[in-house]
């Protein structure tokens, strides 16, 4: 073999074809060069170095792939050379993965995603969003009503570590204290990062639990919102309802929206599996899963924003009016984005629905 100076391997011609006594080996030796050429291309593609492939080779990739596939079909009927068959099967499979592999890179996918893919999938699951919203509102109401009737419920709903002094019997001053901003920005980045990673975990769980026909997702939503309802009652009981709503709305409009979307995405999968329509359960679940995955990727983006708002904006903006303004702007922004960014045109002709 020649020195590999140009990153392009020379392929040795096979041993004299006539030297082979068996017909099936002659068949193999005649086609071997093409197979190895295909293998080199596939190797380069697998290493993510398409630059190494000569233009001629790339042009011939589909032809080489089909040649190898038809060689495999013939070899299976005529040859008993196990090594060659194993090689061909592996080669055709690897080539198939490259020929039909994901053709969009991460950045192309992101662009497609942000410029319409995301909003389109959100619109696609509107029915589930409506039901998730209903469940969340109901959950909040349940939390409020339970605690309003019997204060003991507060302690069962809110874990002790989370209340941080916010509990029935606390004075108005103590409660107002928890809504204060802080002076400087120290420590807020870490807080924001923590909030992001924690909330994303909750969202992913809401999504992943949708698998069992959506019921666990419903429970998770109801529980989390009941907690919110209990808090809401606590503050409004102390006459701080408006302040608490402002404090919450800074990040809450974004964060609760993200939780709403992830819950809806989970329920979408559950609903598609329970009522697959004309498709099989498996393909309905797969289609719903892919649609929901886009929504979920978007939830991560929203939670980054929510984490930053919660970590910084809430702590640095002390006035209730200012907090409401930020929350309202964010809510308006998200709704406009989801409602009006059109579905992108597909360059690769792939059906996204």
């Amino acid at each position: 073999m020649a020195l590999n100076l140009f990153g392009h391997n020379e392929i040795d011609p096979p041993a004299a074809i006539t030297a082979a006594t068996l017909r099936s080996d002659r068949f193999r030796l005649q086609r071997e060069v093409d197979w190895q050429r295909l293998e080199q291309i596939v190797d380069a593609l697998e290493r993510n170095r398409p630059g190494r492939i000569a233009d001629d080779d790339l042009m011939e990739l589909p032809v080489l792939y089909r040649k190898a596939a038809s060689s495999l079909a013939v070899a299976r009927e005529t040859s008993l050379d196990a090594a060659t068959l194993a090689y061909l099967e592996s080669l055709v499979r690897r080539a198939w993965f490259q020929v039909y592999g994901p053709r969009t890179g991460l950045f192309a996918w992101l662009r497609h995603f942000l410029l319409g893919g995301w909003s389109a999938s959100v619109r696609d699951i509107w029915l589930d969003i409506c039901s998730a919203l209903f469940v969340m509102v109901a959950g909040t109401a349940v939390g409020w009503i339970l605690v309003a009737n019997d204060r003991e419920w507060f302690f069962s709903l809110v874990p002790g570590a989370m209340s941080g002094g916010r509990q029935p019997g606390a004075s108005r001053e103590e409660l107002a204290e928890t809504l204060q901003g802080t002076e400087g920005a120290e420590g807020l980045a870490a807080f924001a990062a923590y909030l992001f990673s924690n909330n994303t975990g909750v969202c992913i769980m809401a999504f992943a639990l949708g698998f069992c026909f959506g019921i666990p997702t419903l429970l998770l939503l109801v529980y989390n919102m009941a907690l919110l309802g209990a808090m809401l009652w606590l503050f409004s009981d102390a006459g701080l309802g408006i302040d608490f709503a402002g404090w919450l709305s800074v990040h809450g409009t974004t964060e609760l929206f993200a939780i709403l979307l992830s819950g809806a995405a989970g329920m979408h999968i559950g609903r598609s599996m329970a009522f697959p329509g004309s498709k099989s359960v498996l393909s309905a679940a797969a289609a719903a899963g892919r649609r929901s995955a886009q929504v979920m990727a978007g939830c991560t983006v929203m939670l980054v924003v929510a984490g930053i708002l919660e970590g910084y904006a809430r702590q640095l903006v002390p006035t209730t009016e200012g907090r409401f303004a930020i929350g309202a702007v964010m809510l308006f922004f998200w709704i406009t984005y989801f409602a009006f960014v059109p579905r992108p045109r597909d360059h690769d002709g792939e059906a996204r629905r």
Binding site: E32, A83, S90, R93, R94, F97, A286, G289, R290
Partner: protein, 296 residues
């Protein structure tokens, strides 16, 4: 390895064979990855993630200790805060990003999967989309991480609720055991499956060895005794080129066909027998007669 074990292995292999029809109508053979290799790959990946994270944390920790000494507690200094942010994001990425990043690459497999020669593929024969990879990896959370944390925290011991949660999580963990394609819940939701994708090197053609059909003449009756399975075993022996094994095989064949084995020419004899047997079986194959092994 006894023949019954081989038979059972082959049966397992057969069960995992699938045919995938590509968009242009080619039937492509695929082998579903065995549960063992999938569990192994997952274990390898978890080890990589775990020790990788620990290693980075140790490095960061060493840097952090220096910072901690400089100012005493309470107010976080800016560099320390930056470190804390990095640690939080690192743990987040280790949990959610690692699998996503590698499965989106051209090999469609995490390092653990690569080591065991398996990869992710779309079940419908279309292309593996980014959405599918995202969906299957988000599900991983309830299938792998939450049960792990649950067991580590001893949640199953906490009364009826703990037991219920344990059963509920077991449904996810055991999901791949109860379907023939070894799908886990994430695969089901994403429309993917995990298949074998070994890289196989092309071996030398065996019949290019000097033609010895004049020295060793095998009659049809002598070639009738073996089938395709024995041919493949013989092929393996020839490719391994182990004198000891070749000797034994030659003796076995000679006993079977009633020849008197000589010594010193094991390879020549086996090559000649292999070529003759393959020619015989392939000729029959062209007439539509196949013989799987010596019993058929």
């Amino acid at each position: 390895m006894s023949s019954s074990v081989v038979a059972r292995l082959n049966a397992g292999q057969q069960k995992r064979q699938r045919e995938l029809v590509t968009p242009e109508g080619l039937a492509l053979p695929l082998t579903i990855a065995s549960r063992g290799s999938r569990a192994g790959a997952l274990l390898l990946d978890l080890l990589i993630v775990f020790f990788g994270t620990i290693a980075i944390l140790i490095v960061l920790g060493l840097m952090g200790f220096g910072l901690l000494d400089s100012d005493i507690q309470e107010e976080m200094s800016a560099p320390l805060e930056f470190l804390v942010v990095i640690v939080i994001l690192l743990i987040f990425l280790a949990r959610y990003g690692y699998f996503l990043f590698f499965e989106l690459g051209p090999k469609g497999a995490t390092p653990g999967k690569r080591m065991l020669g398996i990869r992710v593929a779309a079940r419908d024969g279309g292309r593996l989309t980014a959405e599918a990879v995202i969906a299957r990896n988000l599900m991983r959370d309830v299938e792998v991480f939450i049960p792990t944390f649950f067991l580590l925290s001893g949640g199953q011991a906490e009364g009826v609720m703990g037991a219920a949660a344990f059963i509920w999580l077991a449904v996810f963990v055991l999901f791949p055991v109860f379907n023939k394609d070894h799908l886990r819940a994430g695969d089901l939701v994403a429309g993917t499956w995990v298949v074998e994708a070994q890289k196989v090197k092309l071996e030398e053609a065996l019949s290019t060895a000097p033609d010895r059909s004049e020295e060793y003449r095998f009659g049809d009756a002598e070639l009738e005794v073996y089938g395709e399975h024995e041919l493949q075993v013989l092929e393996g022996v020839l490719r391994q080129d182990n004198p000891e094994a070749m000797r034994e095989v030659m003796f076995a064949i000679c006993r079977k066909i009633g020849w008197q084995p000589g010594s010193g020419h094991e390879r020549e004899f086996l090559e000649a027998f292999y070529a003759a047997l393959r020619a015989h079986l392939e000729r029959n194959m062209r007439f539509g007669v196949r013989k799987a092994d010596k019993y058929s």
